[in-house]
């Protein structure tokens, strides 16, 4: 055997091989490089959001008016509180994660188990909160009218409070009825009827003299433009083409559909990261319980999954700023 071993005579020298200048294991470095590439993906999304927002800088929805719900406080206007709570939950689950990593360094299996469990719990609560936030956004609150140009007209009363479509619309008989498959041989499905048709909203708007229309355009001080009664009537009669309730990928009662698209896409992609982080955490959690890392003599796997988890938290800090604050 000795004869086949090639000796270069450079062992122990800088270029002799076997050096680890970064003093990090292979797995940890690869996790870092994955995180770096994932960070670039997320910043690509957020920069694209910024691009679209700059494009429509004077008509972008105001986040404070969009996300106003808080669990068990129905009808209370609570902008930001819920998303701030979500941020806290995620930061705290990051804290328990880093505590688990720290306990791993001291080879304390029991502590690692508890902290990992708390981290998983925090992650699940966060994903659930995000689902709730989506639900509110999708179902909407007041409803609005869309125009030919794809803009949104919202309704307010004399005090400037928002008015929902349900409060405006007066029922009109003889409107279009939903076409069903049993009425036609070739018919599959038609467009769903809106809860309130444009004609019903128009009729109600004309009856109630106090109502005004608010457009998407932002004024100098960042508020939505409010039209006079005459302008409102003209706008509604000339430009309105339909009603819209809630938000989806094609319509958004709060303003530009792009806002909804980016919201679903970016928070969805982030939520998917949280979800996969929870799954990975669960796997590591069970590995901790059955003593894999105890036998291996190192809890470095906990540290690696911890890096991923903190990264998810890091991304949320930016999503929070650019979707809810700025």
């Amino acid at each position: 055997m000795e004869a086949t071993v090639v000796r270069t005579g450079t062992e122990g020298k800088t270029w002799g091989g076997g050096n680890e200048p970064l003093k990090a294991s292979y797995g940890k470095m690869m996790m870092w490089f994955f995180i770096l590439s994932d960070a670039l993906t997320f910043s690509g999304f957020l920069a694209a959001y910024g691009f679209s927002r700059f494009k429509f800088i004077d008509s972008w929805p105001i986040a404070d008016e969009v996300f106003t719900h808080f669990p068990f406080l129905h009808g209370v206007d609570a902008p930001m509180y819920y998303v701030a709570l979500m941020t806290f939950i995620l930061i705290f689950s990051s804290v328990t994660m880093v505590l688990a990593v720290d306990a791993g360094h001291h080879m304390k299996k029991g502590k690692v188990t508890i902290y990992m469990f708390l981290t998983i719990l925090g992650g699940l609560v966060f994903v659930g909160s995000q689902a709730w936030e989506w639900k509110n956004f999708i179902s909407g609150e007041y409803g609005a009218v869309t125009t030919k140009g794809g803009n949104i007209l919202q309704f307010i009363d004399a005090e400037g409070e928002r008015v929902a479509l349900s409060e405006i619309a007066v029922p009109i008989a003889g409107e279009r009825v939903e076409h069903e498959a049993n009425n036609g041989i070739w018919f599959d499905a038609g467009k769903d009827l809106p809860t309130y048709s444009l004609e019903e909203v128009k009729a109600g708007f004309i009856q109630n003299e106090d109502l005004l229309i608010r457009t998407q355009k932002l004024t100098e001080d960042g508020q939505k433009t409010i039209l006079s009664r005459e302008e409102s009537l003209m706008k509604l009669n000339n430009e309105a083409v339909g009603t819209v309730e809630g938000a989806n990928l094609v319509q958004n009662e709060y303003g530009a559909p792009l806002f909804a698209d980016f919201f679903f896409f970016i928070t969805g992609f982030h939520g998917f990261h949280v979800f996969s982080g929870v799954i990975i955490n669960i796997i590591i959690f069970f590995n901790v319980i059955i003593g894999t890392y105890e036998r291996r003599g190192s809890y470095e796997m906990v540290e690696k999954v911890g890096l991923y988890w903190h990264f998810v938290d890091l991304v949320w800090v930016f999503v929070f700023t650019f979707f809810y604050l700025v």
């Binding site: 200048p21 970064l22 003093k23 990090a24 294991s25 940890k28 470095m29 870092w32 995180i35 770096l36 960070a39 670039l40 910043s43 690509g44 920069a47 694209a48 910024g50 691009f51 700059f54 494009k55 429509f56 800088i57 004077d58 404070d64 902008p79 930001m80 509180y81 701030a84 806290f88 930061i91 705290f92 804290v95 994660m97 880093v98 505590l99 990593v101 720290d102 360094h105 001291h106 030919k148 140009g149 794809g150 001080d221 960042g222 190192s298 470095e300 540290e303 911890g306 890096l307 903190h310 990264f311 938290d313 890091l314 800090v317 930016f318 929070f320 700023t321 809810y324 604050l325 700025v326």
Partner: protein, 120 residues
């Protein structure tokens, strides 16, 4: 792998809780500013953006620094690894943001002054 963190057992958890306190306070400050929106901050513009938005962005980067340095242990990694990660991302992301926001602002101006009707 021997970790630098193993040297300082007691202070490691202390550091974690300090960072948690910093992150919480910064988040609370952000939320309070976001709800109150003080007029003097929203009316003052700096480099084409409201002062309040600059504050939000700076506080966010401040939080990101603490998460990366303390929670992700970048402060205990070697200089080489840290720079490979931080410099690369900061350079590429700043460049991306710069070109996309410039382009977005340009398209906004075209919509304002150009002859293309997009709201009809």
């Amino acid at each position: 792998m021997a970790h630098d963190t193993t040297h300082q057992h007691g202070s490691a958890t202390k550091r974690i809780w300090t960072v948690f306190a910093i992150l919480s306070v910064v988040t609370i400050v952000e939320v309070v500013f976001g709800i109150l929106k003080p007029a003097f901050l929203t009316d003052t513009y700096l480099l084409g953006m409201r002062l309040l938005n600059w504050i939000f962005i700076i506080l966010t980067i401040y939080k990101a620094y603490y998460i990366a340095w303390a929670f992700m242990h970048l402060e205990h990694e070697t200089k080489g690894l840290r720079r490979a990660i931080v410099w690369t991302s900061i350079f590429l992301i700043s460049y991306l943001i710069f070109i996309l926001l410039t382009e977005g602002g340009y398209i906004h101006d075209i919509y304002q002054t150009g002859h293309v009707a997009w709201d009809f």
